[in-house]
């Protein structure tokens, strides 16, 4: 059976540069072809609207990244004492001050409420989920209230069917529930103290699922960790490290990399010394909002101890 002609002979001989009626007729013929049915011409593809950006609570980060994108996954990573948690608290404070309800999935139960209060996080709008506390049996098919069943459970007859859940698995399940529930302005996952081996073992499908769940919602999904875990699913990827360059204030000096103190001189007794804060440098590694791949750009900011004012 002969296939229908898409181009007439006259049209084939005509030079490129159709008048609009001919172009329209051609597109309609093409779209009627069985093989091309349902395929949208590239010219007609719509641009995905740019996500709404919200403040991260620190001007340097906002300037560097343009803010945190809603409906996207933002990942910040760095070693211990690199300012990850400080950025998280600043972002939570900004979100809760916008009257948004936020959730923090604390994988290693490391959240300090006093630091959060000092960072002006509205604690009544923050849902804190502390993982790793309860080891719940999974795949328990029946809940039998009878004494006999309880004894058999104690004796371990069903022990082989039980699976003990670790904090990371708990965190993934909780995040899933929170994202599906919706209505939260920010869902933050704190993987900072999770061993690298375990963090890398989180399946990529989980991150894809989170990315899909958060898409087209006003929720900011925020992940902090030691290494990048979400890989290609992260719309914004920021690397943090303690800065080793500058000195903050005339009375402070740099200790190693980025730790600023108010030591007047090295001979000052320790009780007269004070940890002033951290000087943090952020490097933008990936930003999907731009058409071309972003260059590696840096920004620096300071964190202050609550007692330093």
């Amino acid at each position: 059976m002969a296939s229908p002609l898409v181009f007439s002979q006259a049209a084939m001989n005509r030079p490129i540069g159709f008048v609009s009626e001919e172009r329209g007729a051609l597109l309609s013929r093409l779209s009627a072809l069985p093989k091309l049915r349902g395929v949208t011409a590239a010219a007609r593809l719509e641009m995905r609207p740019a996500p709404e950006m919200v403040s991260a609570g620190i001007r340097a980060i906002d300037t560097l990244t343009g803010g945190l994108p809603r409906g996207c996954l933002t990942e910040i990573f760095g070693p211990a004492s690199s300012g990850r948690t400080s950025i998280l608290l600043a972002a939570l404070a900004a979100a809760t001050q916008r009257q948004e309800a936020c959730a923090l999935v604390d994988v290693t139960d490391a959240f300090d409420p006093h630091s959060a209060a000092a960072a002006k996080v509205a604690l009544d709008r923050l849902l804190w989920v502390r993982c790793g506390h309860e080891q719940k049996p999974q795949d328990q098919e029946r809940h039998d209230f009878s004494r006999a069943n309880k004894i058999s459970l104690r004796a371990g007859t069903l022990a082989s069917k039980r699976k003990i859940e670790g904090p990371v698995e708990q965190a993934l399940r909780v995040t899933d529930l929170l994202l599906q529930s919706g209505g939260l302005g920010m869902v933050a996952i704190d993987l900072s103290d999770v061993p690298l081996k375990m963090a890398r073992r989180i399946p990529l499908t989980s991150w894809f699922r989170f990315q899909r769940a958060v898409e087209n919602t006003p929720t900011v999904l925020f992940v902090i960790g030691q290494v990048p875990c979400a890989q290609t699913c992260a719309t914004l990827l920021l690397k943090l490290q303690a800065s080793g360059k500058s000195v903050v204030g005339p009375l402070s000096l740099v200790l190693g990399q980025g730790v600023t103190t108010n030591n007047k001189q090295r001979t000052t007794p320790p009780h007269a010394q004070l940890l002033h804060g951290l000087q943090v440098e952020g490097e933008l590694l990936r930003c999907r909002m731009e058409r071309k791949p972003s260059r590696s750009v840096n920004a620096a900011f300071i964190t202050k101890m609550p007692c330093a004012g």
């Binding site: 403040s55 009257q99 502390r130 809940h143 320790p270």
Partner: protein
């Protein structure tokens, strides 16, 4: 003045069928009395057609396998009667409690609100059906005529004013004596050959009075539909409780959830009929052998053995809700986390009524979770991480470093904000956050000139202390057993490729050193 009567035929059977609707198509017989002297107390229409009569023994009934036998449940009858009152109260504020199975309503002034009288009667029947009771509804110009019509005619009956005698004429005389012990008057009328109300109404007044006295005249006026009286209104209390007595003890969660679903639907229908919602659900399970203290988080060792047979769970909601499916899921999750320790014999479920939530949403309100979804999500999360590990925080008024308390997460309703708020922050700094090690990490510290100079804590955290600040001494609660006294140091330790800052604490009460957290 129109009146309506809602009458539930075979009330003891209907009360049981509310919890077991699948039996509605079968012949159900309700037995009363202690074994082996159980006798038939009531039966539905199918059972009567099968030859069952009130007063038959259980042995006689058991000879036929087609009947479903159930023990009479006073608890379920009380709940069904309360449901009937709620049904009537949802239409009229003036109602009279005319027995367990019948309610009289004053319909005066309701026509502009609910439509004409036939529609009101149909709506009453439908509302009763929603509450699990198949009822006869009759509307008449006086309460007694409405009552007789509801008892005599099935379905919905509307008797126009002035045609009471004509409409009632076909009813048997026995309808006047329903619910009472066999009356000698009924026997007399039977001997006279008076079989229906038409015959009774046609008897001469004086002759009837001479033979049966004032009772005879009253019965004749009832038969003619000409008697009139005022209603005795009652104010039903706002108690919403449903109960089920089980034939056999329940041992699995799935059948319990099935029954709870029924009870919740009935409870929600009753609350809905009164335009109410609930913020607190109480589940009480009567157990067969008593629960065991190690199985129940709410267990109190001071309870006496009779209380040990009662297992209670209370579900408190942040906002008034009226959704049986959400309640069921919450109860399921709660029971999964806290199972009763023994087979269940009786189930009581009650709801604390409150006014429903009135919420006005706005276009520019910041995102906030729906209370219904949030409650379910929180319950599910509690099932994963434990009950005390999810919620929001309250900072306590203390200098203790861990002075905070978890509480239920219930974010306040957001207020109107500007649609285009700034997305660039004005501040270029943030608070240095502390990450707490829970539990704190024990450390071995070497002192030099009274200050820490070397630390060994774990493989990752050990070595010379590069910088130290402190100590900062604090203490508190010395007047209690949980007193504390400590010295805090901020230290910098070389990690693999960077310097990490920690808070080192020396417990002055037991002399131990530990790392409390990490500045990040």
């Amino acid at each position: 003045m129109p009146f309506a009567c809602v009458f539930v035929p075979d009330f003891p059977v209907e009360a049981l069928l509310r919890a077991e609707t699948e039996l509605r198509a079968q012949a159900v017989v309700v037995l009363e009395g202690k074994a082996p002297l159980q006798k038939v107390f009531a039966g539905n229409e199918k059972a009567r057609r099968g030859g069952v009569e009130v007063g038959m023994t259980k042995l006689q009934i058991e000879s036929c396998t087609d009947f479903v036998l159930r023990a009479r449940s006073p608890l379920q009858e009380v709940a069904a009667h309360a449901a009937l009152l709620d049904c009537a109260q949802s239409f009229s504020p003036r109602i009279e409690d005319a027995g367990d199975d019948a309610i009289l309503l004053d319909l005066t002034g309701l026509e502009p609100l609910f439509g004409p009288l036939p529609k009101i009667a149909r709506d009453l029947a439908r509302r009763a059906s929603e509450l699990g009771l198949e009822a006869n509804v009759a509307v008449a110009s006086n309460p007694d005529t409405a009552m007789l019509a509801a008892r005599g005619f099935s379905g919905v009956t509307v008797i126009p004013a002035g045609r009471e005698a004509e409409q009632l004429s076909s009813l048997p005389v026995a309808v006047l004596f329903v619910g009472a012990v066999p009356s000698p008057t009924l026997e007399t009328l039977d001997r006279w050959g008076v079989r229906n109300l038409r015959g009774l109404a046609a008897l001469p007044d004086v002759a009837l009075s001479e033979r049966l006295g004032q009772e005879g005249i009253r019965l004749q006026q009832l038969a003619r539909g000409s008697i009139s009286r005022t209603l005795v209104p009652v104010e039903p209390p706002l108690i919403f409780e449903e109960a089920v007595e089980l034939e056999y003890p329940l041992m699995l969660l799935e059948p319990l959830a099935f029954l709870l679903s029924r009870l919740l639907e009935q409870l929600c229908a009753r609350l809905g009929a009164r335009a109410l919602a609930t913020q607190e659900l109480r589940l009480q399970l009567e157990l067969e052998n008593g629960w065991h203290a190690e199985d129940d988080c709410c267990a109190s060792p001071a309870l006496d053995p009779s209380d040990r047979r009662i297992f209670q769970r209370t579900l408190r909601l942040p906002v008034p809700l009226l959704d049986a499916r959400i309640f069921l899921k919450l109860l399921q999750l709660d029971l999964k986390a806290n199972p009763p320790g023994a087979p269940i014999a009786k189930i009581y479920l009650s709801a604390e009524p409150v006014r429903p939530r009135a919420a006005q949403s706005g276009l520019f309100l910041p995102p906030s979770p729906e209370p219904e979804k949030l409650e379910l999500t929180l319950a599910r999360i509690s099932g994963i991480v434990g009950e005390g590990s999810v919620g929001s925080l309250d900072i306590l008024d203390t200098h203790h470093p861990h002075g905070f308390r978890m509480r239920r997460f219930a974010p306040a309703e957001p207020k109107q904000v500007e649609p285009h708020s700034k997305h660039i922050s004005e501040s270029n700094s943030s608070i240095t956050a502390l990450r707490i090690f829970r539990p704190p990490l024990r450390a071995t510290v070497t002192l030099r000139h009274g200050k820490p100079s070397h630390i060994v804590c774990s493989k990752q955290i050990q070595g010379d202390i590069l910088w130290v600040a402190g100590p900062w001494r604090s203490s508190g609660d010395w007047w209690e057993q949980e007193g504390w006294s400590r010295d805090e140091w901020d230290i910098a330790v070389q990690a693999e490729s960077h310097i990490a800052l920690y808070r080192l604490v020396h417990d002055r009460l037991n002399g131990r050193w530990f790392l409390e957290g990490n500045y990040d």
